[in-house]
């Protein structure tokens, strides 16, 4: 299972970088979305892919029996998803406002502040 997920994460990162390198700011935002999802999936994968083994301690014992999934990365991913959601909604609004004010969705036309 892990190699498959690893390849999927790699493809997501590649797609994200490709989108972010394009000139349109809408595609830039799509790239940002993909890259944050790739990062989330990567953290999820660090927990190890274990099926049907919740980290619960049976009654009377002090440790769970057999290999269990690590719950902490799932909590991290939840936090990261919420943060990414907030930040990306801001980015979407920013791109819309920028398009309204600058009148272009081309990054090459937004160079007034560069030089």
């Amino acid at each position: 299972m892990e190699p498959l997920i690893a390849v999927a994460i790699g493809i997501l990162f590649a797609a994200a970088v490709y989108m972010m390198l394009r000139r349109s700011i809408v595609k830039l935002v799509i790239g940002l979305m993909l890259i944050s999802n790739a990062a989330n999936l990567l953290i999820f994968a660090t927990a190890g892919m274990v099926r049907g083994a919740p980290p619960l301690v049976p009654e009377g014992l002090s440790a769970p029996v057999g290999p269990v999934a690590d719950p902490l990365p799932q909590a991290l991913v939840l936090t990261a998803i919420v943060i990414a959601f907030g930040v990306l909604s801001f980015a979407v609004v920013l791109v819309r406002r920028a398009w309204e004010i600058v009148g272009a969705d081309d990054l090459d036309k937004m160079r007034d502040t560069d030089t």
Binding site: L32, I35, A38, A39, F90, A91, T113
Partner: protein, 510 residues
Amino acid sequence: MTPQIALPILIPLLSGTLSLLFWRSRSMQRFIAVAGTAGLLLTGLWLLATVQRDGIQVMHMGSWTAPFGISLVADLLGAIMVVLTGIIGLAVALFSLATVGRGHEAYGYFPLMHLLLAGVAGAFLTGDIFNLYVWFEVMLVASFALLILGSEKAQMEGAIKYVTLNLVSSVTFLVAVGLLYGMVGTLNMADIARRLATLEDDGMVDVLAMMFMVAFGIKAAAFPLFFWLPASYHTPPVAVSALFAGLLTKVGVYALYRVFTLIFHHSPGYTHEILLWGAGLTMLSGVLGAAAQFEFRRILSFHIVSQIGYMILGLALFTPLAIIGGVFYIIHHIIVKTNLFLVSGIVHRLRGTYQLASLGGFYRSHPWLAVLFLIPALSLAGMPPLSGFFAKFIVIRAGIEAEAYGVTFIALLVGLLTLYSMIKIWAEVFWKAAPEEELEAVPAVEPRAMWLMSATVAGLALCTLFIGLNAGPIYALAEASAGQLLAPERYIEAVLGSGIEPGTAGEGTP
């Protein structure tokens, strides 16, 4: 119980919430802005005094013991940074009263400022690497919103670059945290440091170190990842610029100091060598960028980049003296840089432009402002007896002692070029006669607002003079802080308690 560890985070959060509750009351929001930042400064001083007296302070959130819960840790560097956050917060709050204006205040300027300060203070005090990510995001979201308040064209263009590069940095940071967790199975920084020391797999550790370096390097605006800074810092209202210039990049520098002294200090021949050349190129590219600029705030923005180089140089040399120099440099730089941005704000308020060509004659019309500019400007360039001289002197002395002559030469050269930039501003804004061209009429400045702006700038200038004339005690403080940074076992012991064997930490406890 030591509430002063959590208070620097709670006070800005609370004052931010309070100012949201008083959304319609302008006077109440302004009062909370000053009271909240003053409270932050006072608790910061309290924390610093406690840490100086009793050593590293630790607080476990919700009483979950160290490797499991989130710990707040205040060592000397963290406490010093919190005090500086308080000083800058208070100065910017006072300056905002006179300059920000109703339009921005009605859209939540003050609540956002408090939120930003909470994020910055949280990043300085947390002892948990994922929690550090969360505070970074708190700080970033607030800064995004502050950056585009006003919705001018330049702000939008700057904001797109700022947002994109900072999000890339956050993602890199997040991925690095995930991989680090996969390797060591813990998020507590002290615990990570202890377990990494026992790991065999050096190659992966170096890869992780580089990922953290890239992530924090973008935040700190180090070469070659600084392009977002000069593209965006000159666009928002000047109080926002000053706040960003003083604090945001320094959070990145602080994170570099924390991570590369506590966690990744095992192969300095590899990681710190890269930092060293990064520092040299950061200094050089920043100062050369500034030389080509003729807009007040853009010159200052490029100088942030070049000064970041000195701070990273202190870390990269990784000798006790160099770390002392780095900490001293951070203390000096935060105050001086904010002050210069505030001076540019006064000039803009009086004449309505930041273009050097359209300014002039300020020495004749406002001689006191010229003096207030000269103090931070000469300090930035490193003139004795101001604070910048001692900061540069320590770093360069450390460079010579470590026999890193190439980078030391760059540091000296950059000091000279900084002086050139400051003289350029002095000659154009203050010395030459005011140009004949007609500028847009600027509304007259109320005497009270003028008094408030000048008092803020004068206060920060006094801080610079104080550091310069009192270099001994400040040096001792930086020395103690460097001692803590170079002895990570003290940090680890303070957080985890002594006598815990690796791998058996807290078995049987929640």
